[in-house]
Structure formats: structure tokens, C-alpha cells
Amino acid sequence: MPRWGMAIDLDRCTGCQACVVACKQENNVPFSTPAQADQGRQISWLYLQTEIEGAYPHVQVRFRPMLCQHCDRPPCTFVCPTSATYKNEEGLVAQIYPRCIGCRYCANACPYSVKSFNYDEPVWPKQLAASLNKDVSVRYKGVIEKCTFCSHRLTRAREQAAAEGRALREEEYQPACVQACPANAMVFGDLDNPHSRVAQWSASPRAERLLEDLGTKPKVTYLKGGV
């Protein structure tokens, strides 16, 4: 079984937010109304964290695409009272929306703060409501959601491979954000395959994993920028 992971080169990231848009569209992530944004209730599976360093005139802005780190030892799944969030057989941290009771314990336990709660019923502009992705279930008010590494794409790729009677090829499964990145700043694949780009990037001297000292074993690696 591959160990799916992602690597992001922050030196290549231009902060264009194509990944953010691709993610929203792929995963039926609702738009936030201005009121929701004011209350701090945006739902985002992937967002661009902006870090500003230094003071004028020597200011440096750094971008970091932030998403679920798909920990190998996820703090969120341990505390869930109903196993609505769990690590699935592919090693991805998954959410079962129909089982979520909306206690938000997982969101509080996540040290990366990447889980979103549906405070309100999600709404889409009329034109977009018709073009929702049919592979991804639409959530409703009262449940938690977060990045799934586009696991529906993995399901589809596996089914395709099975229909053709062959093994899954690693490159057949790519999350929408990785696919959309125009700067090739994101790579995705099997961390256990030494020939894969994601494994090579993850072994780079610039590689860092967020809050690794907590023992969460995140499967997203960042390649430090500006070194």
C-alpha cells in the first residue's frame, strides 16, 4: 500500500492561489458570505497562510499553502467519539459526514487548526449550484469537514485500474491543488517509493514538516523558502 503524501516547495510558490480555487471547485467547498468572513467562519480545505517578516523597508512576505497534514498519528481521530474522523486503510485522514455529531472536538484537538465547521447551511450562487462535483458529497450545517487529499480521485483511479485489470499507477492519483499549480510547486505521490518526486523532495535538506516535534508524523512536507 502506498503512503500518500505531498511536498510543497515554498520557493516556487508565487501565492497565486490557483490551488485554493481548484480545491474549492473540486470539493464543493461553499463560498463564505461577507458576514461569515467577519465572524471568522470561513470554510477552507486549503488556504494560503501569509507570513510577513521584518519591518518597512525590509519586508518579506512568505506564503504557505495550509491544508490537512494527514498525520500518520492524527490527534483528531483519537478524540472523535463516533469515529466520524478516522485514518482510512489508505492512510488518509477521512471524514464520514453522516456520522459526525458536530461536537467539534477534533477541530479543537488538531494542532494545525485545519478543520472547518459548518456553522450555517452552505449556499452556492445559482450558476455554480448546477456545476457541483458529483463525486464529492455536499456537506450540511452541523458537521466538520476538511481536506481529504481528494480521496474521491483515488477511488476513481483504483476503479479504473481494476476495470482494466492492472495495478494502480502512482501518477494516476493527483489531488486537484497539485494538478492546478502553475509553478509546479506541489508534488504528490507515494512517500515510500524512493523514485517518486515527493519522496525525493521530502528528503531534501530544505524539507520541514510542521510541528513535527508533536509526534503527529504529518505527510505534508514543506521545502523552506529563501534559504
Binding site: 467577519d38 497562510q49 484537538a109
Partner: protein, 451 residues
């Protein structure tokens, strides 16, 4: 064992029967006011059910607010009864007799509101039972459900057992629709020797059993926080810190209830200054214990000076939550310590002021444990201040009102001071205690004179 002479009990301790037999206009007035608050809260909840948790003030990352604060607070107050009453019973503290019942009722009633606040907090309350049908054993929330249901069962039994002889007395003197009810609940108790023997044995067994259960309940409540790796939640001291805080707020709630009952039902003869003095001393001990735990918790954090912990620390000490934090310190320590450490101020009024202060302070403590940690996560996120909405305040008011209302109804149905235990104290315990004290001492025997 005392005689179950119901008519004599009615003559001697008539004051204890009066709340049940006579209901004045004041009661109906207070009850309808409280009922109005409860109805308003029910409306607020239907509002929340229809629109979702968006009607609260919670956001990202402050996913828990005053519902969870109330949950911890109410479970804390529940330690008023069962634990204090069980400890006093086991220590044979004779002054317990008039206060055990009113303490035990607090426990049973307030537990419902503790659990209820978790349900209010759920995004999908219709799925609450999934916690049992899809139980996930590593979740501290499940441990909570388990220990809370054991505690609720245990403390209900512990309230009911000492109620049985009183129900038998009431059965003998009551008239009208109440009579069959008391007959049913009294389980055929007639005061025979073997019945007394059994009930006393059952009470002492339960008194021993409920103590570890009570301790476990608040420990597990603290573990909901301490088991995560959130800054200033992930603390090994949380179990005992929460248990001490629970007993602290429990005693305070008990004193508050005692003062009100004493005043409203004119039970000055049963709830005497000595009761308030003794409970006041107990509250003083807990005040100092609270200070010790708080000092230990914050000093180790400050000395270690880990950045993630310090951002929460400063948020409480000098930042956004400083007004709440320092109010908590004054109301949990300065005020009660100043009042309770002097005999002159350890009066009925003095202990009442200290108790109200402690109750406010302990609620603030729960709030400043829940919210500041959530507001200061490890990684930078967009921060939005949490302001509870009208729905949250309404539901909180509704919980308090419903609790007081149910408590009032209890005093109208059952004696709020244990009749038979008062009589037993008078008839049996006075000579027994004299004998007991003699066994503590080397008594001089007749004819032997030291030379």
C-alpha cells in the same frame, strides 16, 4: 434506630412538613418567573435548532464557548451533594443531618444540566446517540458519558435511599393525591428492625461507592481538555485541579441553597450558624487548595516559558482575557479568603457572600480554561474575538432557571431536610456520640486515684 412515629414527627418537626403542606403566593410568583425564563430559553433553542450553531458567537478557532463552560461548571457544582454528604456521613459529622438532603438534590438535578449543555453544543443533536451506537473508545467524550451515567445512577440511588423512611412518614400523614404516591415510593417501609438495618447498610455502602465515582467524573471531565495537546490544556494537574475546583464550587452552591431555604422556609432552628461556620471552614480549606493548584499550574507554565504556552498565559494575565482572569482570582481567592478566614465574618451572611463570589469565580475559571487556549492555537490563524450571542446567554439563563425551578418543586414534594435523620440525631446519636467520645479517651475508672 429511631421510631417511625409519624404523628409525633409531625408535632415535633412540623417546620419540615410545612413546605410540603402549605404553598404561599411567593412560590407561585417565583415559579412563574422562572418558568417564563425556561420558556424563553426553549424558544432560543428552537431558534438554534432551525438555524444551526451559526446563531452562537463561536467561530474558527474558538469552537467551544459557554455551552462547554457551563457543562464543566454544572458538573462541578454537582459535587456539592453526593461527595460532601458522603464524606460527612462517613466521618460521622453529626452536624451533617440537616444539610445532606439539600446537597444530594443539587447533585442529581444539576447533572442533567451538565449533560444537557453538551447536547446544546452539538451541531447535530439528532445524532447524539451515535456516541453509544458508534462508540469510539479512545475518545475522552465517551469516557465522560460512561462515568457521568454511573454517577447519575449512583447519586440518584444515594438520594433515594435516605428518602425512603421520610416517604413512609409522609405516607402516614399525607392526604389526597399525594398519599398513593408516597405509598408507592416508600416501598412498604414501616420502620421494622430489619428494614432499618437494611436501609442503613445500603446507605453506608452507597456512601463509600459514590466517592470514587464522583472523583472519577470530574477527573474525566478535565481529561476532555488535558488529553489533547492544546497549549495550557495538556496538563497532568488538570484531573485533581478540576476535582478540587468542583468540590469548591459545590460547597459554595450548597451554602447558597442553604441560605435561601433557611430564609424562605424559616428553618433557622435546623440550619444554625454552626452549620454555616463549619461549611465556611471547609470552603476556606478549598479556597486555599484552589490557590495552591492555580499557583502550581501557572508557575510551572511561566517558568518553562514555552512560546505556545506563554501566548495563552499572557492572553490571560495581561491580554484579551485579563479582566476575566483577574476577576476570577479576586472572586475565587481574595474575597472568600478575606471573609472566611475571620471568625467574625464567618456568619450566615458572610458565607453567603463568599459562596456567591466563589460561584462566579469558578464559572469564570471554566471559561478562562476553555476559551483562551482555543483563541491561541499553535499555528497562526485569523483570530476573531468570541462574544456569546443572545441565544447562548438565553440558554444559560434557562439552565439556571430550570434548575432552580426543579429544586423548588422538589421541596414541595419531599422534605428538604431529612426528617428521620434529625429525629435519629436527637434520639439515638446524642447518647451514642457521648459513648463514642468515651472510647477515644483513657477514662478514669472508679476507685482508682493517681498517687
Amino acid at each position: 434506630m429511631p421510631h417511625l412515629d409519624s404523628q409525633q414527627a409531625l408535632q415535633q418537626d412540623g417546620a419540615l412538613f410545612r413546605p410540603i403542606m402549605k404553598t404561599g403566593r411567593g412560590f407561585y410568583l417565583a415559579a412563574s418567573l422562572l418558568l417564563a425564563v425556561v420558556v424563553w430559553a426553549a424558544y432560543a433553542y428552537s431558534w438554534q435548532l432551525r438555524r444551526g450553531l451559526g446563531v452562537t458567537g463561536m467561530n474558527r478557532p474558538v469552537y467551544w464557548g459557554i455551552y462547554i463552560t457551563n457543562f464543566v461548571f454544572f458538573i462541578g457544582v454537582s459535587h456539592a451533594g453526593t461527595l460532601i454528604s458522603a464524606i460527612l456521613r462517613l466521618c460521622r459529622a453529626e452536624w451533617r443531618r440537616s444539610i445532606t438532603r439539600m446537597a444530594e438534590v443539587i447533585t442529581v438535578l444539576v447533572l442533567f444540566f451538565g449533560v444537557g449543555n453538551v447536547l446544546l453544543d452539538l451541531g447535530r443533536p439528532d445524532r447524539a446517540l451515535y456516541v453509544i451506537t458508534h462508540a469510539h473508545f479512545t475518545s475522552p467524550l465517551l469516557w465522560d458519558i460512561t462515568s457521568l451515567s454511573v454517577y447519575l445512577t449512583g447519586s440518584t440511588v444515594y438520594l433515594y435511599l435516605p428518602l425512603i423512611p421520610d416517604l413512609a412518614i409522609l405516607r402516614d400523614v399525607a392526604t389526597g393525591w399525594r398519599q398513593p404516591l408516597y405509598r408507592l415510593l416508600a416501598l412498604g417501609f414501616t420502620g421494622q428492625k430489619h428494614q432499618w438495618h437494611r436501609i442503613e447498610k445500603a446507605i453506608s455502602v452507597m456512601a463509600v461507592l459514590v466517592i470514587p465515582v464522583a472523583v472519577s467524573v470530574h477527573t474525566v471531565v478535565s481529561w476532555v481538555f488535558a488529553m489533547t495537546i492544546m497549549p495550557m490544556w495538556h496538563s497532568t494537574i488538570f484531573g485533581p485541579y478540576f476535582v478540587a475546583g468542583a468540590i469548591f464550587s459545590g460547597i459554595a452552591a450548597l451554602i447558597t441553597a442553604m441560605v435561601i431555604i433557611r430564609k424562605v422556609y424559616h428553618l433557622e432552628e435546623y440550619l444554625r450558624p454552626v452549620h454555616f461556620n463549619n461549611l465556611g471552614l471547609l470552603l476556606l480549606v478549598m479556597t486555599m487548595l484552589w490557590f495552591y493548584f492555580t499557583l502550581a499550574e501557572y508557575l510551572t507554565t511561566w517558568y518553562g516559558h514555552e512560546p505556545v504556552e506563554m501566548s495563552v498565559f499572557w492572553a490571560k494575565f495581561t491580554g484579551t482575557y485579563a479582566p476575566l482572569f483577574w476577576t476570577m482570582f479576586v472572586t475565587c481567592f481574595v474575597i472568600p479568603f478575606a471573609i472566611l478566614s475571620r471568625k467574625k465574618t464567618r456568619t450566615v451572611t458572610g458565607t453567603l457572600i463568599a459562596s456567591i463570589s466563589v460561584n462566579i469565580g469558578m464559572w469564570l475559571e471554566r471559561f478562562t480554561i476553555v476559551v483562551p487556549s482555543l483563541s491561541n492555537p499553535r499555528l497562526p490563524v485569523e483570530f476573531h474575538m468570541y462574544h456569546p450571542s443572545w441565544v447562548e446567554w438565553s440558554l444559560m439563563a434557562g439552565c439556571f432557571a430550570a434548575f432552580i425551578l426543579l429544586y423548588m418543586l422538589f421541596t414541595k414534594m419531599f422534605p428538604i431536610v431529612s426528617i428521620w435523620e434529625i429525629r435519629e440525631g436527637r434520639e439515638v446519636a446524642v447518647p451514642e456520640t457521648v459513648e463514642r467520645i468515651k472510647t477515644y479517651l483513657p477514662m478514669e475508672t472508679k476507685g482508682e486515684v493517681a498517687t
